[in-house]
């Protein structure tokens, strides 16, 4: 079996983002999607700290400490971009104005519940940031994650055991093994890694899956 690499996952997510979309890419793995957005599509990236039409990282030495993204990395602004304050920025998110957000996750349930902010470990210091706002506000929520934990357990679960971020919000899951839609009739497998059988994917995932109809 040929697992999807992180770059392949990012490219696969990017393929699903159409021309003209307003998109927020979460911290970590989702950030890589920016590098794979097709050059022939105008896609506008939102960063919740207060900018729209975020550009790539600046040239070395051209960092501006006043121009960073939500991950606190230096970025640039494209012509046509805009700055705004935090209440306006989160109004964009909460108000349903973003077309897509792409988020990492600890767990996604078969109903599309998302757990991605807190392991719930008793000694963990919690931090939530904008995770809940993003997942509740975007029209489409994409999750990008490894299919299995380091211990080999499925991160797609009947019910999240980690503290929830948002209930019933995830639309599509992109893992290193498959692309899976969350539908009202359960999880539907859209694509699988080369050499992976549907039965093996079912076994690894441990929750009911079906093949998506042709799309």
């Amino acid at each position: 079996m040929q697992r999807y690499s992180r770059d392949q996952m990012a490219a696969r997510v990017a393929r699903d983002i159409p021309e003209g979309a307003y998109v927020n890419l979460g911290i970590g793995l989702p950030t890589m999607v920016a590098n794979h957005l097709p050059k022939d599509r105008e896609i506008l990236l939102h960063s919740e700290n207060g900018l729209l039409a975020m550009g790539p990282a600046p040239d070395p030495g051209a960092d501006d400490p006043d121009l960073i993204n939500a991950g606190k990395q230096p970025v640039t602004l494209l012509p046509g971009g805009a700055y705004f304050h935090h209440a306006d920025s989160f109004a964009m998110m909460r108000g349903g104005h973003l077309d897509f957000c792409v988020l990492g996750a600890f767990q996604v349930s078969t109903q599309g519940d998302l757990a991605n902010w807190h392991t719930g470990a008793p000694d963990a210091i919690p931090a939530v940031g904008g995770a809940m706002d993003l997942a509740i506000g975007a029209k489409q929520v994409f999750v990008m994650m490894e299919h299995l934990t380091k211990q080999g357990q499925s991160k797609i679960v009947p019910r999240c055991t980690y503290p929830l971020t948002v209930v019933r919000c995830v639309n599509r899951i992109f893992t290193d093994l498959a692309v899976i839609d969350v539908t009202s009739t359960g999880l539907a497998v859209v694509e699988m890694a080369d050499g992976l059988s549907f039965e093996e994917l079912m076994r690894l995932t441990g929750v009911p899956l079906r093949r998506a109809s042709a799309h």
Binding site: E19, G20, Y22, E42, L44, H46, L51, L52, A53, L77, P79, G80, G81, A82, Y83, F84, A87, F90, A91, M92, M93, R94, G95, G96, H97, L98, G137
Partner: protein, 230 residues
């Protein structure tokens, strides 16, 4: 390439359906999207709900729209004015429904729609006729009324300059309801004096980022030196 620029006001409002809720920007002479209102009058949609601060002045603009009797209901703060005779007659004849909202609650309810707020407690209107039947609550010793967002299908607004991504800047007090109405509507349509290239508007000074705007129409300002076409 994203291009939100539409070539005419008529085309910009063409898909407004019967029964739609339409926000219309403007306060007095400032910020009223006259070309879009005129295009809406030419269009056939009826049974409309209109949200505006007022209820029309004299016989043009919103008043002319009301005169067509295609507005079922108006949500506004200040309908009665010396020259609001069109509305006055319709209202007295029971031909239009009025929801009267204190101006600040009107603005905040529109903002709440754009910001995804489900409802909010406001002190304005408490213990008045305009809060009758509404839920109230004491919070930290002060009395509040619960108000709900006003969402719209369309917002017709006027800005000064815009670009193909829908970024807008306004001029002076013509800003008024434009930014919040754009955020509260599924489809915000802006008439602008000038369309500029992407990147011309200062990112520090863009008042309405394009994410809130779906259509931009250039409506040249007519001057004495530039006679109106027949």
């Amino acid at each position: 390439m994203i291009n939100k620029i539409i070539s005419s006001a008529r085309e910009a409002v063409a898909d407004i359906q019967d029964g739609a809720t339409v926000m219309i920007g403007g306060f007095g002479t400032a910020g009223t999207p006259l070309a879009l209102i005129d295009a809406l009058i030419e269009q056939r949609a009826r049974d409309l709900t209109v949200v505006n601060n007022n209820a029309g002045n004299a016989d043009t603009g919103l008043a002319a729209l009301l005169k067509t009797k295609r507005v079922r209901k108006i949500i506004c703060s200040f309908p009665r004015q010396p020259d609001s005779w069109v509305f006055d007659a319709l209202y007295r004849a029971g031909e239009i429904e009025l929801e009267l909202v204190p101006q600040g609650n009107l603005a905040e309810r529109i903002r709440a729609a754009g910001a995804g707020i489900g409802a909010f407690f406001t002190p304005t209107g408490y213990a008045t006729l305009l809060a009758e039947g509404k839920e109230t609550r004491e919070i930290n010793g002060r009395q509040y009324v619960l108000e709900h967002p006003i969402h719209a299908d369309y917002a017709l607004i006027k800005a000064d300059r815009g670009d193909r991504w829908g970024n807008l800047v306004y001029r002076k007090t013509a800003r008024n309801f434009g930014p919040i109405m754009a955020s509260a509507a599924k489809c915000a349509i802006a008439e602008v004096r000038e369309i500029v290239e992407l990147g011309i508007l200062d990112p520090e000074a863009i008042v309405t980022p394009g994410i809130f705007v779906q259509r931009v129409v250039r409506i040249p300002v007519l001057t004495l030196a530039e006679p109106q076409a027949a």
